[in-house]
């Protein structure tokens, strides 16, 4: 068993050194494609943060002052429910201060200054309103009426951010996903090609191995390890790149901390998750691609 392992690692390393140029090409391509995959993840997450407030067709949010009493909140709720022609009453949702605080963690992820000032006690609670009416003027008129109610702090409209942001995010999502899929295919193709070249360089050895009774798996495993290593190195490089990009972006965003941009930041926990995914995709794509390539050139 140990003999087999040491054989596999020795052969992998030897082949790695033999094909430096092709290996570099495969590694760099997989790094770039994985970087794009990772960016797609992060961009989606960032936009999702920005749009958390407006999830579920919410078009209007009525923010309630943190010092409002139960009575005032009841008045606001009754006023909202008295408009069933405009508002979908069944979807009306009240987020108390604890829930609003949880939501703010995402919303102000890139703005630790603001986040520090917020507590579950001083944060405004909110009514999320899903309208029935498609008439945006009507919704706006209704919203303006609430501004004058006691206990209302502010009224926000989805329209103000939502349309532009969602369209931009949609576009970026499709573009980056498409590019990363294409590049990932190129990367697998390059890994495939390095493995084919490596196998061609060693065709005499493979012939002898088959004649003396080496199993196909025994022959294949060093090549799969080589592909796996290429994918994994690509993954590591892409993680470094992604980490650099994300830090630079987070720093840049910190300068705009009182705007909506502050939500466009990804927290470390999610970042680690994405890095883990990238390493996984790189390793699996490399191993599977080279495994298939090795099988194709191993006719019994």
């Amino acid at each position: 068993m140990i003999a087999r392992f040491s054989y596999a690692f020795r052969e992998t390393w030897a082949s790695f050194k033999r094909n430096v140029t092709l290996t570099m090409a495969a590694v760099i391509t997989s790094a770039v494609s994985l970087l794009l995959v990772g960016s797609t993840f992060l961009i989606q997450r960032a936009f999702d943060n920005l749009l958390t407030r407006w999830k579920g067709d919410v078009e209007l949010i009525v923010y309630v002052r943190s010092d409002a009493d139960a009575n005032q909140i009841q008045v606001i709720e009754d006023a909202l429910k008295s408009q069933p022609a405009i508002i979908d009453v069944s979807k009306l949702r009240y987020l108390d201060q604890a829930e609003s605080y949880a939501e703010a963690q995402k919303l102000f992820a890139g703005d630790p200054g603001t986040l520090r000032l917020l507590t579950p006690e001083n944060i405004p609670s909110q009514f999320k309103v899903v309208p029935i009416s498609q008439d945006s003027n009507l919704i706006r008129e209704l919203g303006e009426q609430f501004r004058s109610l006691a206990g209302v702090r502010e009224v926000a409209y989805a329209q103000d951010v939502f349309d532009v942001v969602s369209r931009v995010s949609q576009f970026i999502r499709i573009a980056t996903t498409a590019m990363s899929i294409v590049l990932l295919m190129v990367a697998v193709g390059l890994i495939w090609n390095t493995i084919r070249t490596a196998m061609f360089a060693r065709r005499r050895e493979i012939e002898v191995m088959k004649l003396v009774g080496a199993t196909n798996w025994f022959i294949r495993i060093p090549f799969m390890l080589e592909g796996l290593l290429q994918g994994l190195i690509g993954g590591v490089l892409s993680c470094l790149g992604l980490w650099g990009l994300n830090s630079a972006w987070s720093n840049a965003v910190a300068d705009f901390n009182d705007t909506e941009l502050a939500a466009l930041v990804v927290t470390d926990g999610y970042m680690r998750f994405v890095m883990f995914i990238l390493l996984g995709i790189g390793a699996i794509a490399g191993a599977v691609g080279s495994g298939i390539a090795a099988s194709r050139f191993l006719d019994v």
Binding site: M1, A3, E205, E207, V208, M209, K210, V212, G213, I219
Partner: protein, 225 residues
């Protein structure tokens, strides 16, 4: 040990390389396959370790129909069959020792077994003093001895030799034949394809003669023609 039953093998759509061949080789026998180039000798050898599959008929080796064997079992069949070739098929970037060790390494034999068996077999073929040489530092006859060592190191039941003396001068070829004879005396079945009349006549073993894919003669203690 080896039995062919009405075996026919065709390459492409041309005339068959082997047509309706049937014969049996007993354990420990030494058999020459003779005939001119293209008469089907090599094809017969390739059918015996499943490098080729016949269109019709069956090949039995050590009691198993190897044509019905699953692909995953073929490596284990081949561990019982050594192969020698006219062009030796040595790995040029490996030393004599490494070339022989390679055959054990790739079937997962542990290091201590390799360290013990490789010197023993190199001693048998008379190359103990050259185990650190590379193939290009050896004569043709010595290279063929390395390839015999590699084929025999795993103590196979059968040795298939395809024109092993084809690239060697007569004296060197005789040396190789003496070595194959010694290996045969250990109980290993040897099947050798050749068109070297002198060697066949010298050895006086069983001769199976082929002509355009058909067995035309099968004779105990035969001569070339």
């Amino acid at each position: 040990m080896i039995r062919l039953e009405n075996v026919t093998k065709t390459y492409g759509t041309d005339i068959p390389a082997v047509r309706d061949a049937s014969f049996e080789i007993a354990k420990g026998e030494f058999v020459f396959m003779v005939g001119p180039s293209g008469s089907g000798k090599s094809t017969l050898l390739r059918l015996m370790n499943r490098q080729e599959q016949p269109e019709r008929g069956a090949v039995w080796v050590a009691g198993k129909n190897i044509n019905e064997m699953s692909d995953s079992k073929v490596p284990y069949l081949r561990r019982n069959i050594g192969n020698i070739f006219q062009d030796y098929k040595l790995l040029l970037n490996k030393t004599v020792f490494e070339n022989v060790a390679f055959a054990l390494e790739v079937i997962g034999r542990p290091k201590h077994v390799i360290r013990q068996q490789v010197p023993a077999v190199l001693d048998l073929v008379g190359l103990s003093d050259k185990e650190d040489r590379f193939p290009h530092q050896l004569s043709g006859g010595e290279q063929q001895r390395v390839s015999i060592a590699r084929a025999f190191v795993n103590r196979p039941l059968i040795l298939l030799a395809d024109e092993p003396t084809g690239n060697l001068d007569p004296a060197t070829g005789e040396g190789i034949m003496r070595l194959l004879d010694r290996i045969n005396n250990t109980g290993t079945t040897v099947v050798m394809a050749t068109h070297d009349q002198r060697i066949v006549n010298m050895m006086r073993r069983r001769v199976v003669q082929l002509d355009r894919g058909v067995i035309v003669r099968d004779q105990e203690r035969g001569v070339y023609d």
